[in-house]
C-alpha cells in the first residue's frame, strides 16, 4: 500500500508519455486522485508500519519507509495539493502533458521524502524532487530563469552535499550497521563530532526551510516560474526543511540541537520578521507570496528549534497547512494573471468584476495571516505559545512579524482588489468551472482544520512526543 502511494505518481508520470495527448489530463488527474485515495485509506487504517529491506546491503543502505504521524499528514497534504495542481494545470497550461508529468514525478519525490526512514533513501528522494522542479522552471519559466535556476540549484546542492558528508559521518562515527533511522538512533554519535555533523545536516535543511541567510534563491525561484502558479504549488510543497530537522536532526543530534537552540531560534525569528518586512515592499504578487512563505517558514523553524512540545506540534501543523493555503494563493495569483495579464499588486478594482475570485483570495489570505478559525491560526499560535516558554524575547520579536503579515497582505490585497478600476481596462471574468474546485477545496480544508483540528493533531501529537522523548522531555 505504502509503496503504491509513493511510486504510483511516478508510474503515472511515465505513462503520460505513452497515452495519446488528448487523454493526458484525464490520466494525470486519475493518478493524482488515486494517490490521494490510497493516502486516505492508509490514514483510515491508522498509518502504515515501518517496512524495511536491504537496498545496497554492501553499504548498509536500506529501503525503509513508513507513513505515520507527521509524515502521513504531510504526505496527505502533498497528495491533495498535487491533485489541485493537476486540476488547475490541465485547464490553464496550454499543451500540459509535460507539466502534468513533472507534477506527478515530483509528487513521488515529495511523498518519498516524508516516508523515508533511511538517511540515504531520504537523500535520494530529496534530490529526486529537485529534478522535476528544475525542469518545470527550465521549460515553463520566464526570461531570467537561468539565473534563478542556477541559484536555486547551487544553494540546494551546496547544502545537500554537506548533508551527504554528514550522513556518511553519522554512520561512521556512530558505528551503526545501516543507514536506517532506527539503527542510527541506537548507535548515537557523541561529543563535538555530533555538533559538526549537525551543522552539515543543517546546511541542507536551512536552505530548504529556508532560513536566513540561505533564503536568497526563494524569491527568484517563484518569480521566474510559470504564471499559472502550478510550479509554485509544487515549490511550496518542497519546503521539507522543517520536517527534516524534526525527523532526523533532532533525533540524531539531540545534544547539538539543545546547544545550538538559542542561535537557531534567533535566526528563525529574524527570518520571520525580515521576510515580512521585505514582503511589505514587494509589488510582484509572486515575490510577495514567496516572502510571505519565507516568513511562515521562520515560524516553523522557531517551533522546531525550540524543542518544546507545543511549539513543535504547532510547527508541524503550520508546515502541513501552510502548503495548502499558500499553494492555493499561488494558484489564485495565477488566475489573476490570466485575467489582467500582470502580476503587479497595484492593479485596482478587480473585486468589482470578479467578486468570487476576490472573496476566495481574501479568505485564503486570512488563513495565511493566522486569523482565528482558519488553519494558520492554530499553527502560529501554538508555535508562539510554546516558543515563549523557552525564549520569551526571541519569540516576542517573531510575534511582530504576525502584525507585519497582516499589513503586507491587506495592503497588497487592497491595492489589487479594491480601489478604483483604471479607465479603459479589460473586463475581468470571474471564477468559473474547475477554478471553483481549485480554490474552494483548499479553502475548505483550511476552514475545516481551523475549526476542528483534532484529526490532524491526533496524527501529529504522538509523533512529536515520540521524537522529543529522546531529549528527556521539555
Amino acid at each position: 500500500m505504502i509503496h503504491l502511494m509513493i511510486f504510483l505518481p511516478l508510474l503515472g508520470s511515465l505513462l503520460l508519455f505513452a497515452v495519446p495527448p488528448r487523454w493526458r489530463e484525464e490520466v494525470a488527474g486519475f493518478f493524482a486522485a488515486l494517490t490521494l485515495g490510497i493516502g486516505l485509506l492508509i490514514w483510515r487504517g491508522g498509518g502504515s508500519e515501518l517496512f524495511s529491506v536491504g537496498w545496497v546491503p554492501a553499504l548498509g543502505i536500506t529501503y525503509s519507509v513508513a507513513l505515520d504521524g507527521v509524515s502521513l499528514a504531510l504526505a496527505l497534504v502533498t497528495a491533495f495539493m498535487s491533485l489541485v495542481a493537476v486540476l488547475y494545470a490541465a485547464r490553464r497550461v496550454s499543451n500540459p502533458g509535460t507539466m502534468l508529468s513533472l507534477v506527478l514525478a515530483m509528487e513521488t519525490g515529495l511523498i518519498g521524502i516524508f516516508a523515508a526512514r533511511d538517511l540515504v533513501l531520504f537523500y535520494v528522494f530529496f534530490e529526486d524532487a529537485l529534478l522535476p522542479a528544475l525542469l518545470m522552471l527550465a521549460i515553463y519559466g520566464k526570461p531570467n530563469r537561468m539565473r534563478a535556476l542556477v541559484k536555486f540549484a547551487a544553494y540546494t546542492l551546496f547544502g545537500s552535499l554537506l548533508m551527504l558528508l554528514s550522513i556518511i559521518g553519522v554512520k561512521y562515527y556512530g558505528g551503526s550497521p545501516t543507514f536506517a533511522l532506527a539503527d542510527l538512533v541506537r548507535n548515537p554519535v557523541t561529543g563535538t563530532a555530533q555538533t559538526w555533523l549537525y551543522l552539515g545536516f543543517l546546511a541542507a535543511m536551512a536552505v530548504k526551510l529556508p532560513l536566513w541567510p540561505m533564503h536568497a534563491w526563494l524569491p527568484d525561484f517563484h518569480e521566474q516560474n510559470h504564471d499559472s502558479g502550478v510550479p509554485d504549488v509544487m515549490g511550496t510543497l518542497y519546503k521539507v526543511g522543517g520536517y527534516g530537522i524534526f525527523r532526523f536532526g533532532v533525533t540524531l543530534f539531540p545534544d547539538a540541537s539543545e546547544a545550538l537552540r538559542p542561535v537557531l531560534m534567533g535566526l528563525a525569528a529574524f527570518t520571520a520578521l525580515y521576510a515580512a518586512w521585505i514582503a511589505f515592499r514587494q509589488t510582484d504578487w509572486k515575490r510577495l507570496l514567496a516572502y510571505a512563505g519565507l516568513s511562515h517558514m521562520g515560524f516553523v523553524g522557531l517551533g522546531v528549534f525550540s524543542l518544546n512540545e507545543t511549539a513543535t506540534i504547532g510547527a508541524m501543523y503550520l508546515l502541513a497547512f501552510q502548503n495548502v493555503y499558500t499553494g492555493a494563493l499561488f494558484l489564485s495569483v495565477g488566475m489573476l494573471q490570466e485575467r489582467i495579464g500582470s502580476l503587479h499588486t497595484r492593479v485596482g478594482g478587480v473585486m468589482t468584476q470578479a467578486g468570487a475570485l476576490g472573496g476566495l483570495s481574501m479568505a485564503l489570505w486570512f488563513a495565511s495571516i493566522a486569523v482565528p478559525g482558519l488553519a494558520g491560526f492554530i499553527g502560529e499560535f501554538s508555535v508562539l505559545l510554546g516558543a515563549y516558554q523557552v525564549q520569551p524575547w526571541i519569540t516576542a520579536v517573531a510575534t511582530l512579524s504576525a502584525i507585519a503579515a497582516a499589513t503586507y497582505a491587506l495592503t497588497a490585497f487592497q491595492t489589487t482588489f479594491w480601489q478604483g478600476r483604471p479607465l479603459g481596462s479589460v473586463r475581468v471574468w470571474d471564477v468559473r468551472g474547475t477554478e471553483w474546485l481549485v480554490l474552494g477545496l483548499p479553502l475548505a480544508v483550511a476552514i475545516f482544520f481551523g475549526v476542528y483540528s483534532a484529526p490532524a493533531l491526533n496524527l501529529i501529537q504522538p509523533a512529536v512526543r515520540g521524537v522529543l522523548a529522546t531529549l528527556g522531555g521539555q
Partner: protein, 482 residues
C-alpha cells in the same frame, strides 16, 4: 634441442583476443572496408569479455606473476572493454565525417586497448610500463590521425607531454626498484613493510615520481594541461576513447601501484591529497567558464579525475571497490554524453553550449539522454553518478580525509552549475534554426547512448548489480598479487 618455455595462455587470452583484432585490422585493412573491420573488432571485444568472465575466480597468472588475471583485473578489464566497444560503435557513424575512416584508426584503437588491458592485468612494474607505452603510443597516433591543424597540434602536445610523463614514470620505477629491490608488486608490498631507513628516502622519491607520471596520464592537476586541448582538438570519438578507456586504464595502474604495491609506503598519500585538492579546484573552476560544450566536458573529465582519485585515498578494500564501481559509471556516462556530441556536432570542434538551446524540441531522445548523463555526472540520484560520488566520498572520509571530502563536496556544487546550464538550456523553447548536424541520429550511436543511459539509470536504482561484484573485499585486498 630447443625447448618451448612453459607459458600459461589462459590469463593472456583476453589480451590476445584483442591483439588479434588489432592485427586483423592491420592486415585485412588492405582488402576489407573499414566498417567490416570495426564489426570484427566489436566481436573480438565481446569474445575478450567472454573469456574474462570464464576466468572469474580462477586467479590465473603467467610469467611468474608478471601477468595476473585476478578478479580486480577482470573487473577493470570489463570496464575497459565496455568503453572500447562504445568508442567503436560511435566511430561507425562518425569516423567518416571526422575524416578518420581508414583501417589504421581501428588498428591503433585496438592496439591501444591491448595496452590498457596489459596495465589492468599487470603484476609488476615492467609489465605495467609496457602496457602504458603501448596504450600511449597508439593514443598519440589516434589523436593525430585526423587531417587537420588542430588535430596535429593536439597530437603533438599530447606526445610531448606524454613522453615527459613516461620519462618521469620510468625514473620513478627505477627508484622504486632501488628502494625495494624488486619490480614485482607483491615483492614491493612485502618489502615496504620492512624497510631499512636508508631505503625509505629512495622509495618515497620513486613513489612520488610514479605519482607524477601517473598524474600526467590521468590528468591530475598540475599535470592536466594537455587534457582540454587534446580532448578538444582530437576527433570526438577519440576524445571519447581518451577520456574513458585510457583514463580507466591509468587508474587501474594507479590502483595496482598505490593501493597494491606501495599501499604501506609513506609519503605518496599526503602528496596525492594535495594534488586532488588542486585538481578539484582547477578542473571545476575552469569548466565553469567554458563556452564550448566539448571543452567543458574535457574539463569535467579533469574534475572527475579529482573525484575518482579520492578512491585511492581509501583503504584498498573500500577505495578499490569505490573506484571499481565509479570507473564503470564514469565510462558509461562520459561515453554517452560524448556520443551525443559526436552525433550532433557540425564540426569536430564540438558545439557551443548555446547551440544546445531547445534541443529537446528537435531531438527529444538525445536531449533527454544527454540530460540524464549530465545529471549523473553532476551526481544527482537516482542516477548512478550519485553512488559513484558517494562511494569515493565515503572511502576518503572513512580514511580520515575529512577536509578533502568537504572540499570535494563544495567542488561538486560548482560542477552542478556547469552541468546544469546545458541540461536546462536543452529544455528551453527556442525558435531559431537548428544548429546541429541534421543526420546525426543513427542506430549505432543511438545504441551507445542507450547503453550509457540505461546503464546509468539501472545501476543507479539497483547499484548492487555491479557493486555487489566489486564490493567483495577479497578482490581488492590482493591488488598486489599474493
Amino acid at each position: 634441442m630447443l625447448q618451448v618455455p612453459e607459458v600459461a595462455l589462459a590469463p593472456m587470452l583476453p589480451i590476445l583476443i584483442v591483439l588479434a583484432g588489432a592485427l586483423a585490422s592491420t592486415v585485412l585493412g588492405f582488402s576489407l572496408p573499414r566498417r567490416a573491420l570495426t564489426i570484427i573488432n566489436l566481436v573480438m571485444l565481446v569474445l575478450s569479455g567472454v573469456s574474462m568472465v570464464t576466468l572469474w575466480n580462477s586467479g590465473a597468472r603467467a610469467f611468474g606473476g608478471s601477468l595476473q588475471a585476478d578478479n580486480a583485473a577482470l573487473l577493470l578489464g570489463l570496464t575497459i572493454l565496455i568503453g572500447s566497444a562504445m568508442t567503436l560503435l560511435v566511430s561507425l557513424d562518425t569516423a567518416y565525417r571526422a575524416r578518420v575512416s581508414f583501417p589504421e584508426f581501428d588498428a591503433m584503437l585496438m592496439y591501444s586497448v591491448t595496452g590498457t588491458l596489459i596495465i589492468a592485468f599487470s603484476g609488476d612494474l615492467i609489465t605495467m610500463l609496457i602496457g602504458l607505452e603501448i596504450m600511449s603510443l597508439s593514443s598519440y597516433v589516434l589523436a593525430t590521425l585526423q587531417d587537420s591543424r588542430r588535430a596535429e597540434e593536439s597530437g603533438l602536445k599530447y606526445f610531448l607531454l606524454g613522453a615527459v610523463g613516461s620519462a618521469i614514470l620510468i625514473y620513478g620505477i627505477a627508484l622504486v626498484y632501488g628502494g625495494a629491490g624488486s619490480l614485482n608488486y607483491a615483492a614491493i608490498a612485502a618489502q615496504t613493510a620492512t624497510l631499512t631507513p636508508g631505503n625509505v628516502g629512495i622509495l618515497v622519491g620513486g613513489a612520488l615520481l610514479l605519482l607524477a607520471g601517473f598524474g600526467f596520464k590521468v590528468a591530475l592537476a598540475p599535470f592536466h594541461q594537455w587534457t582540454p586541448d587534446v580532448y578538444t582538438g582530437a576527433p570526438t570519438s577519440v576524445s571519447l576513447f581518451l577520456s574513458t578507456v585510457v583514463k580507466v586504464a591509468a587508474f587501474a595502474g594507479m590502483l595496482r601501484v598505490f593501493s597494491g604495491a606501495l599501499a604501506a609506503a609513506p609519503g605518496w598519500a599526503s602528496t596525492l591529497q594535495v594534488l586532488i585538492a588542486v585538481t578539484l579546484v582547477v578542473g571545476n573552476a575552469a569548466a565553469l567558464f567554458q563556452p564550448n560544450f566539448k571543452r567543458m566536458l574535457a574539463y569535467s573529465a579533469v574534475a572527475h579525475t579529482g573525484f575518482l582519485a579520492l578512491g585511492l585515498l581509501g583503504t584498498p578494500e573500500v577505495g578499490g571497490a569505490a573506484l571499481g564501481y565509479y570507473l564503470l559509471i564514469y565510462t558509461l556516462m562520459t561515453a554517452a554524453a560524448l556520443a551525443v556530441v559526436a552525433a550532433l556536432q557540425r564540426s569536430e570542434e564540438g558545439m557551443t553550449i548555446n547551440d544546445l538551446r531547445g534541443l529537446y524540441y528537435r531531438h527529444p531522445a538525445y536531449a533527454v539522454a544527454l540530460a540524464v548523463c549530465l545529471a549523473s555526472l553532476a551526481g544527482l540520484p537516482p542516477f548512478a553518478g550519485f553512488f559513484g560520488k558517494y562511494l569515493v566520498f565515503q572511502a576518503a572520509f572513512q580514511n580520515g580525509y575529512v577536509w578533502l571530502s568537504v572540499l570535494a563536496a563544495l567542488a561538486s556544487v560548482a560542477a552542478l552549475v556547469y552541468y546544469l546550464r546545458p541540461a536546462m538550456l536543452m529544455f528551453m523553447p527556442d525558435r531559431t534554426p537548428a544548429r546541429e548536424y541534421p543526420h546525426g541520429e543513427r542506430t549505432p550511436t543511438t545504441l551507445t547512448v542507450a547503453l550509457g543511459v540505461v546503464g546509468v539509470t539501472v545501476l543507479g536504482i539497483l547499484p548492487n548489480l555491479w557493486y555487489g561484484w566489486v564490493a567483495n573485499p577479497g578482490v581488492w585486498g590482493a591488488l598486489a598479487g599474493r
